[in-house]
Symmetry: C2
Subunit: 258 residues, 2 copies
């Protein structure tokens, strides 16, 4: 039986609509005895919030089967004093960290929000505070370093710009905690006690999911849903172990490719 990391957005659902057959596929994977873990780069919701959303779509899962970037931050930064520039939604996942406003060991930069006030965590006041902490010796971490993200209104500037700005001003180099970082995959595999060689990463993102997991020694399956673009895959030169129409095919595919 295998260990399977399932990306969430674009693999299990797209914009809140479950992929046809996805709910059933997850049930079949469990019934076949595979260990399953849900791995997302979302920076706006806590595990509990995202778990509720997925259960609302019909998926059967416990919150602690979900790995968010916030939960990885909690693991990597455990015991440290952290200045967190993150969305309020993920604060629940940062348990065990001492969140403070000064004399931090680490600065943690989160993501942007699609809400009414996007980017309010990236006010000058907050960024200046982060800069001063970095100057005083704090380490720089970020949940991801994305340049932009797609919204219904078009592309929007994402947190990567603010991470890059803090790197430039302070001379520090940020450690990325979300996919495709090794820390992220290591945390997910450790949680289900799996070796990379015997584990599958299933995702829609050739860079974040497939390349990241390959670099970590895992096998990979790319789905043709979500942000999958045939041209991008061809141009990337990256070859996943499998490419399937959607996660609905995964149980059958795994049976033929054990």
């Amino acid at each position: 039986m295998a260990a399977i990391l399932l990306d969430v957005d674009g693999v299990l659902h797209v914009s809140g609509e479950p992929i046809p057959g996805a709910v059933d596929a997850v049930r079949q994977l469990r019934a076949a005895g595979h260990r399953v873990r849900f791995v997302t780069n979302s920076t706006t919701m806590s595990r509990k919030q995202l778990g509720d959303v997925l259960r609302g779509m019909g998926f059967v899962l416990d919150d602690d089967e979900l790995q968010t970037t916030g939960s990885v931050a909690a693991r990597v930064l455990k015991g440290k004093r952290v200045l967190a520039l993150t969305m309020p939604g993920i604060l629940d996942d940062l348990e065990g960290l001492e969140l403070i406003g000064m004399n931090a060991d680490a600065v943690l930069v989160g993501g942007c929000d699609e809400g009414e006030e996007p980017g309010r965590v990236f006010s000058y006041l907050n960024l200046n505070r982060a800069f001063l902490e970095l100057e005083a010796g704090a380490e720089l971490y970020c949940l991801h370093k994305n340049r932009w993200w797609q919204t219904v209104d078009g592309p929007k500037l994402d947190a990567g710009a603010f991470v890059a700005g803090l790197e430039y001003a302070s001379g520090a180099e940020a450690t990325v905690l979300g996919k495709p970082s090794p820390e992220y995959f290591a945390a997910a595999l450790e949680a289900i006690d799996a070796d990379p060689e015997l584990a599958w990463m299933v995702g829609d993102d050739i860079e974040g999911d497939v390349v990241g997991a390959q670099r970590h020694g895992m096998r990979t399956v790319l789905v043709r849903t979500g942000k999958f673009r045939p041209d991008e895959v061809e141009q990337s030169g990256v070859v996943p172990d499998g490419i399937i129409s959607s996660v609905a095919q995964l149980p059958d595919w795994l049976e033929s490719n054990p």
Copy 2:
């Protein structure tokens, strides 16, 4: 007779206090027949505002003898549609530019403010707007790309961080308009019809003033006031043509070093 570019902050005054003998020195330089131009990287005041401040200290000068970064921007970006993320103070200097909120040819990033609301031009909304213009093909310009600046409360995050962030997100490379850019020195020399080889740059900043002017083929004098630090000069390996205690010595020094 020579052409002389005089830096303002740290050379003529420090935090609003004129350097002893500076007012007299400027008068002597003029009396000796030298062409003088005042060159500053300030991003918070227009020429008129800064001229008033300097006249208030006793300096005799016309506004149009002052070169601000805003006035260089107006020269370089003449006729272009510009999205300006700048302090309101310098808008007067941006005459001739069509300042607009979308469909820009160029994005111009200014400096931070020491006022009550520092960095308010760098709101997420403004930065996202700039990002979208860059994505649509606008060119990126900045008044300077400083990492931080010194205030009475200590260092503060400066505009360079936001320039670097926009560069990262858009893939564009910013053209710096202030010192030490060649455009800046070229504009100052053109205004007084001087060749670089026969012109002096007098400043307190080994990088922005001395290195920049040397690269532009000018001769340089470093003053031991303002941000002058002996260690930095030694470590930099940069050798100005002269190092003098303060601008008060400049008229005599020039007579012995024509």
